[in-house]
């Protein structure tokens, strides 16, 4: 319940404040958002599996975001930032799909 409220509060805050993305953050924010989404779906699946732990969720959330940003950062330094971003997005996308498939089985039994 609180999680849903937090999500709603965050979205409303973003809509109301309309913050500008700092220039240094601009390449990393989209990847970070996708990584965080992956962590959230993973957490939801773990919750439905009955193995949810809030400490693990926090650590995985933060590490997902940091590692995704780090990969993009290193890729930019190496000159393959665009390709590496694509790779990260693809991997995270596959994970999100598989997690959502498990969640779907739990909720709809199908």
């Amino acid at each position: 319940m609180i999680a849903v409220v937090g999500l709603v509060v965050g979205i409303v805050l973003g809509l109301v404040l309309k913050p500008d993305v700092p220039l240094w953050l601009e390449p990393y924010l989209p990847i970070a958002v996708v990584a965080a989404l992956d962590a959230v779906f993973g957490a939801l699946r773990a919750f439905l599996d009955g193995i949810f732990n809030d400490k693990v969720f926090v650590i995985s959330f933060v590490s997902n975001v940091v590692i995704a940003a780090l990969i993009v950062f290193v890729g930019d330094k190496l000159g393959v930032g665009a390709q590496l971003s694509t790779g990260v997005i693809v991997v995270l996308g596959i994970r999100i799909f598989s997690n959502v498939a498990a969640i779907r089985r739990h909720i709809f039994h199908a």
Partner: protein, 261 residues
């Protein structure tokens, strides 16, 4: 159990299959129960989810607001810049070509306009000389009184010739008969015929030209005025500021003569 969180590896889904049968009955119930009873773990999750929502909305908005180039890397920007440069070069050369065409068309139009103006001027000059256009300008108005009826056709013809020699540009008898190169002068029983129209004394001749030259052309010794006086008539010469020659003759194209050029 905490060490197996979520699906941290992609192979997790298969091992979940065993758990699936046991857990599916209560997973919905657990979801509903958690929605009803908040806990500390949920608060942490809520904060993180709030962060995610905030970041997501921010990114979506900046993505929609951003122009095309903000997120591009240096090499991409260089490529875009090169493309734009080539495009602007093409546009420049296109502009130059179009301006050249416009200049040519303007020149042509001006030349054509000048030719038309010249032709119009010429047509007007020739029309006045040939008698097809009405004319007005400085000149004299000659009135010949002939109470005895002794002024002859030859006298009038002399007058016309002398006026022509003095530079008359347009001439008219009795405000109705234009005198041109082909005008005929005849005499029959009823009187004088100018171009087939009968004219009766007093004869009135309107002449456009230099007034002093024209009037002196009539007055030299043994000239027109002298002849008329000898025939018991009188000549009156007026010099109005503007003489109007309003009668015209129809233009006729020459049938035999062609341009010698």
């Amino acid at each position: 159990m905490p060490e197996r969180f979520g699906a941290e590896n992609l192979g997790a889904e298969r091992s979940d299959a065993n758990r699936f049968d046991a857990g599916k009955a209560d997973s919905r119930a657990r979801l509903l129960a958690t929605l009803r009873h908040p806990s500390r773990g949920q608060a942490v999750g809520g904060v993180l989810l709030g962060l995610l929502g905030f970041a997501m909305v921010t990114q979506v908005q900046s993505n929609e607001r951003d122009d095309t180039y903000a997120g591009l890397r240096t090499s991409d920007l260089v490529q875009v810049l090169n493309g734009l440069n080539a495009q602007s070069r093409r546009a420049d050369s296109e502009i130059a070509g179009l301006e050249r065409t416009r200049r040519q068309l303007t020149d042509q139009t001006q030349a054509r306009q000048a030719a038309v103006d010249r032709a119009k001027d010429q047509a007007q000059t020739l029309g006045i000389l040939a008698g097809t256009l009405p004319a007005e300008g400085p000149g004299i108005r000659i009135t010949v009184n002939d109470p005895e009826g002794k002024v002859s056709l030859n006298n009038l013809l002399d007058a016309v010739e002398e006026l022509r020699a003095a530079g008359a540009e347009a001439m008219e008898f009795d405000d109705s008969v234009r005198v041109i190169a082909q005008t005929s002068f005849e005499q029959d029983d009823s009187g004088l015929l100018v171009d087939g129209h009968q004219v009766d004394p007093p004869y009135v001749i309107d002449v456009i030209g230099d007034p002093s030259t024209l009037s002196s052309a009539l007055n030299f010794p043994l000239g027109f005025s002298y002849d008329v006086k000898a025939n018991d008539g009188s000549v009156k010469v007026d010099k109005p500021t503007t003489v109007k020659v309003s009668s015209t003759v129809p233009a006729t194209a020459p049938t035999d003569a062609t341009s010698g050029q």
